[in-house]
Symmetry: C2
Subunit: 479 residues, 2 copies
Amino acid sequence: MTVETAMHRLREHFGGSFSARSADIDCHSQDESYFPRCPPDGVVYPNSTRDVVDCVRICADELCPVIPWGAGTSLEGHALAMTGGVTLDMSRMDRVLRVNHADLHVVVQPGITRKALAMELRDTGLFFPVDPGADATIGGMAATRASGTTAVRYGTLRDNVLALEVVLANGTVIRTGSSARKSASGYDLTALFVGSEGTLGIMTELTLRLYGQPESIRAASCAFNSVKDCVDAVITIIQLGIPIARLELVDATMIRGFRRWDSDFNMPEIPHLFMEFHGSPTATDEDVRQVEKITRDSGGQGFRWASRAEDRKTLWHVRHNAYYAAKALRPDCRVMTTDVCVPISRLAEAIDITLRELDSSPLAGPIVGHVGDGNFHITLLVDDTDPNEIARAKGIANRINDRALELGGTMTGEHGIGAGKLDFMRKEHGESWDVMAMIKQTLDPDNILNPGKVVRIANDGRPFPALPSSARSHDNRSV
Amino acid sequence: MTVETAMHRLREHFGGSFSARSADIDCHSQDESYFPRCPPDGVVYPNSTRDVVDCVRICADELCPVIPWGAGTSLEGHALAMTGGVTLDMSRMDRVLRVNHADLHVVVQPGITRKALAMELRDTGLFFPVDPGADATIGGMAATRASGTTAVRYGTLRDNVLALEVVLANGTVIRTGSSARKSASGYDLTALFVGSEGTLGIMTELTLRLYGQPESIRAASCAFNSVKDCVDAVITIIQLGIPIARLELVDATMIRGFRRWDSDFNMPEIPHLFMEFHGSPTATDEDVRQVEKITRDSGGQGFRWASRAEDRKTLWHVRHNAYYAAKALRPDCRVMTTDVCVPISRLAEAIDITLRELDSSPLAGPIVGHVGDGNFHITLLVDDTDPNEIARAKGIANRINDRALELGGTMTGEHGIGAGKLDFMRKEHGESWDVMAMIKQTLDPDNILNPGKVVRIANDGRPFPALPSSARSHDNRSV
């Protein structure tokens, strides 16, 4: 029962779908987080649920860790082989199995990316709304309970996965949920696996909710003199229940980053809201009218429309590339990202204290946020050769997390725990964290599924090495 | 370690908040299901989370079953003491702890009923939308993942519980979720407890989402010549994504029941849709226009408006009392209810086959349904002194359940499993049912929390008695 034997057996079984070549190992050693390289012992590229079952069974026999890999865009080390083992690269399981127009859902394999799914759906009149910055896989997004700019209207992966096929740690294949829109039938295993980060089972098929393309889409930006004014407008919009589809905060520093990154981008360097409205022409007209009034009352400087599809695309293109834009402000820096989410009434407070802290720090930290959800990110720009800077940035990030918990929120709205946020789990969840560990130990008693993520448990004589302290910081390419 | 010792200790500990008087035992022996009386050995009326902890600890010591009790309106025997033990009547824990206007949520104790909560919220401009027929407690509704007439727009309890306080089987108190609108922080324990029917823990505090009272509410009914025409209209409304707030099917037989039950009710005895629209005046105008056209195209006979609050109330009052109205068709009968939910594209098929089956049966079975969700109920009217009729009704119910599963749906959209639907769990969930049992055994290894519900597991030497066959049928007062 060794990892070596596992690799031997996997090679025998999978032939060309197994690799221990350095090229394959290398590109699965690092995700978009700041963790040091964690090379797996081998990589399996399954083509089917059967392949996943076979791989898991061999690894269960040999007590070898199995780490599912999507697009490698995790921001918290989710897909790293912290203790070696085999990386299960899901990229070949990337098909759309069925589009069900009548029921507004689609069945996909986990390896399809969100952009590839959008392409597949482009002629159907339907769309899947969830859009993290990265072109992540749907499996990875479900595993981390991801969201993006549209969650304020359409929800997160929690709200948009109807059913799953999952391979358990012993190789059993189960199905959770159904194609019905609701159910009261037993424990909600779908919700349990969504957000479990590959630690309870490996998703091999997902049924996702789709939505009709809105008849009218209108996007706009609005400038404000202060972040506080922006946030005041956001709070009113949300409290009035206006069904806005996107509501994003971009602060002055981030606008400066956008301008450096894209020379055609010419918004003034003051805080902005980026917005989008979906609905019938009448409904979007009404939403726009209401939101225009609210932004005016909060000191907004009038809407700047992006009515053509092309202009809309530019707006959201820069927003989705905030990571690169932030880096443009300090080339060669590393980015450390926070991801707190607070109740909407505490959003102004949470951002305000953070801004004051950033003001009194030499570090730059542009802010972007899915503020309609109460979720915002500080992208701290750090010289990672300077231990003082790293310590300072970590101090800021930790205080932001602490504050979010004090305000009744969570330290992660959408990026997940991975290995990067374990230190805050006890503080956020108290004894609920033990319940998570109990569930993990029940479903994966040998701790072979993505060990070292979400929960901390004894690993049957396979102790996790202490992470080097540099492994606690972050380098995130999409925030 | 006996139930007798447990009762003795509970009486000592709780004094007047414990009772083994026959009046208290009697009224906790039967819910609204058709199960035979199951008297608990005693009843505890907790006043606080502390009381729940103390009760659970004593029962854990003595291996005594603890069965949480809300309003006793379960349709599947959820709250019955199948193997004796103590009933934990939550009715004294019925307070609203905090209304948070700014964040649109409310923190309540589990024993408050949905109508009492509505009263508490009436001057706030906010409301909690979920409305099962019965005036159930919020704790009971969360435990069964209940829904009602508004789920088509506002979702079920799954979508509307943000956070929980839960007492586990060993007396540990945990908190799940947060007040933030979304989170990617670890396993979704809130979703795991919602719908777990008191088998994994006892909810002692719930944070619920609230919604702003819509500016405009418009209700209407529309008559059709056939159920098929009704359902065709429903399918189109849902597929177009019209945000209708209520969309209920009532068949001709049920209309006849309404007329018998309420002599002022004078709709023609043909199938109807009952509808409600929420939004701004402009938005509801637009929704109404669209839906009117759709119903016309499907052979609908024009809207009959219930624009005054009073008329609306009447419409939903009869709908919520469908159980009594059904019984009015055959006084002294028993009611056996089905609760399937199918993908919307299969709704016409599911109802059509069922109708043909009912037509060829001597049994009456009025139909009502939250058809916007794909969820419908057949209220079979049965003479329970006639074994042939009971067998016939069960045959119909079983075939309806089987068909729902074949069509990709679930056998229960909102009533839950309890003890009544255990026989269909394996068929619906396959090996996922074993995963549910594993979770149950982990969180409640001695099986003291509501034993005999949702899952079937060995009970540490305390085998469940086989249910008498009559216990498989149903008598539901609110459907």
